[in-house]
Amino acid sequence: MIDEALVQKLATLARLGLTKTEVEKFTHQLDDILGFFEKLAEVDTAGVEPIAQITGLADITRPDTVEESSIAHELLECSPLGISKNHIRAQKTL
């Protein structure tokens, strides 16, 4: 099911650079693993609502108040790229 072209496509979609050796290796491994996932088709889930929140919490809100963050500059400083006028200077997108 999984071939090298698909692995290459997934890697590109995920902006993940891979070497040719990696593509070959991951093709086999992902084929094994994704094939194994297909076992789930055996489970009857008709009428079962999928969940992602396991303790039953829903719509947790907080007051929409302004709070000061004193570490904005330090967070910017984490960037490996240059900072100018409180922005990270990245390559242009267009």
Binding site: L13, R15, L16, D32, T45, E49, I54, T55
Partner: protein
């Protein structure tokens, strides 16, 4: 081996000093061949110890207690790498809630422990900073992903350590290294400031020398946190006060699908059955229960966590933080920067990209999320019959380096007994019960959501009967 209580008593009575205790641990770390730590914060630890000794105030619950913290927990001003080349030089400008609470309770940070990269793995072999050795046999893995934390506790290189558990990453290394490990209910401990693997599965908890220590640490780190909306406003009980409560009449279920699993070492199975008998001696009632979806635990779990992981890893773009490479345009820069991830992280990103992509999301991601809901119903039904479940932690004894690392599916399959606690959000306590071939073995006790008190109580009795703990 130091327990929190005994060490606090010695510090409070002046029998020893924080500096002396800290120095002893630092010396042990320096002489160690385990590679449990990625970063050792020697100077800061000694400075903190000296402050305690000068003030002579050891009233806080963890005052002067030297500890280790897994290197995916942000510690302000201290390098936090996630055991990844991506964050090899990352120094966070803020602390995770869990470390903030420990620090406020008086704990002294000895350093940051090794783990699988971004907590993805079961052997600590996926670290960019070398493997950690099992203190009981240095040719074997310590388990993972919190392998450095487990090895540091078992190797007496800290009093206790903090780990994280997304699918067994506290319990399995605790089991492999012969220490106690507590995986809490999802949301019991704030995840704020802890690097995310799979956000609806991740939990944070202690690895300790005893059940009493686990209870003492949990009292400090549990509770609601406004910065993590998944921590509910549920009171934190005084876990330590209920450890010795009688367990007469408590019903404990043995999930038959676990005990009949393929590839389960019969010696470990026998050890689990013995542990059940020890609890029976203390008055608990042992019954068999059924968790019919156990066979689907691994595909459900791995499909969902890798999907969540692929989205969490998107933030490592070489722009805001971490490793950065410059290509001819932005896309090439992303691709080159993200090459710094190790194999398991790359696999996770691709698996998640696939199972979440349009055309596959219903058949894969949503299907698994529905099986997860069904699995939760299975566990709810089981907990109508019993107070807790007793189960193995790992189907095998600690394995040798290199045995599984090239076959990711085999590595995943070995997580069969631990992943469901995370899938259904319940707490589970791994307790050592003895040794097989000179290697540690033990069990896990799973409880209802937010019933950490109940499993710690059972764990304490088991530890007493098995002759462990301090």
């Amino acid at each position: 081996m130091n327990s929190i209580t005994s060490l606090l008593n010695e510090l409070r009575s002046g029998k020893t000093s924080a500096t002396e205790v800290t120095k002893n641990y630092l010396a042990k770390i320096k002489d160690s061949s385990l590679n449990a730590y990625i970063t050792v914060t020697e100077q800061a630890a000694l400075a903190k110890a000296a402050e305690f000794d000068a003030a002579k105030d050891f009233s806080k619950p963890l005052a002067g207690i030297p500890i280790a913290v897994k290197d995916i927990v942000c510690t302000k001003g201290v390098k936090t790498t996630a055991a990844s080349k991506m964050l090899a030089d990352f120094v966070p400008p803020y602390s995770a809630t869990v470390w903030e609470k420990l620090e406020n309770a008086g704990a002294i940070l000895l350093g940051k422990t090794n783990c699988d990269e971004f907590a993805m793995g079961s052997s600590t072999e996926n670290s960019a900073f070398g493997t950690t050795k099992n203190p009981h046999d240095e040719s074997r893995v310590p388990g993972g992903s919190s392998g450095g934390s487990a090895a540091a506790v078992a190797g007496e290189e800290c009093v206790f350590a903090i780990g994280t558990d997304t699918g067994g990453s506290i319990r399995q290394p605790a089991n492999f290294c012969g220490c106690t490990g507590l995986k809490v209910t999802y949301g019991r401990v704030s995840r704020y400031g802890v690097m995310a693997y799979a956000s609806s599965f991740d939990t944070i908890g202690p690895l300790t020398n005893s059940v009493a220590d686990a209870a003492a640490v949990l009292e400090v780190i549990a509770g609601e946190d406004k910065r993590d909306a998944t921590t509910p406003d549920i009171a934190v009980p005084a876990y330590s006060k209920h450890l010795e409560d009688p367990i007469q009449g408590k019903k404990i279920g043995l999930p038959k699908e676990f005990f009949n699993a393929v590839g389960f070492d019969p010696r470990i199975k026998a050890a689990c059955e013995d542990a059940a008998k020890l609890l029976e001696k203390r008055g608990a009632k042992i019954v068999e229960v059924s968790l019919p979806l156990t066979d689907y635990a691994i595909p459900t779990y791995y499909l969902l966590v890798k999907a969540e992981a692929s989205t969490n890893m998107a933030r490592y773009d070489g722009i805001r933080f971490g490793h950065s490479e410059t290509g001819k345009d932005l896309t090439e820069s992303y691709m080159a920067s993200r090459q710094a991830f190790g194999d398991e992280v790359k696999r996770a990103i691709m698996m998640g990209t696939f199972t979440l992509s349009s055309g596959y999301v219903d058949a894969y991601y949503k299907k698994a999320a529905a099986v997860r809901a069904k699995m939760k119903q299975d566990y709810d039904r089981a907990f109508e019959q019993v107070d807790a479940l007793l189960a193995p932690v790992s189907p095998t004894l600690p394995f040798k380096f290199g045995d599984k690392v090239d076959d990711p599916l085999q590595m995943y399959l070995a997580d069969i007994f631990t992943v469901t606690a995370n899938t259904v959000g319940i707490p589970s306590l791994a307790v050592p019960t003895g040794k097989i071939d000179n290697l540690p073995t033990g069990v896990q006790i799973m409880g209802k959501q937010f019933d950490e008190a109940g499993i710690l109580n059972l764990g304490w009795h088991l530890e007493q009967e098995a002759g462990f703990g301090n």
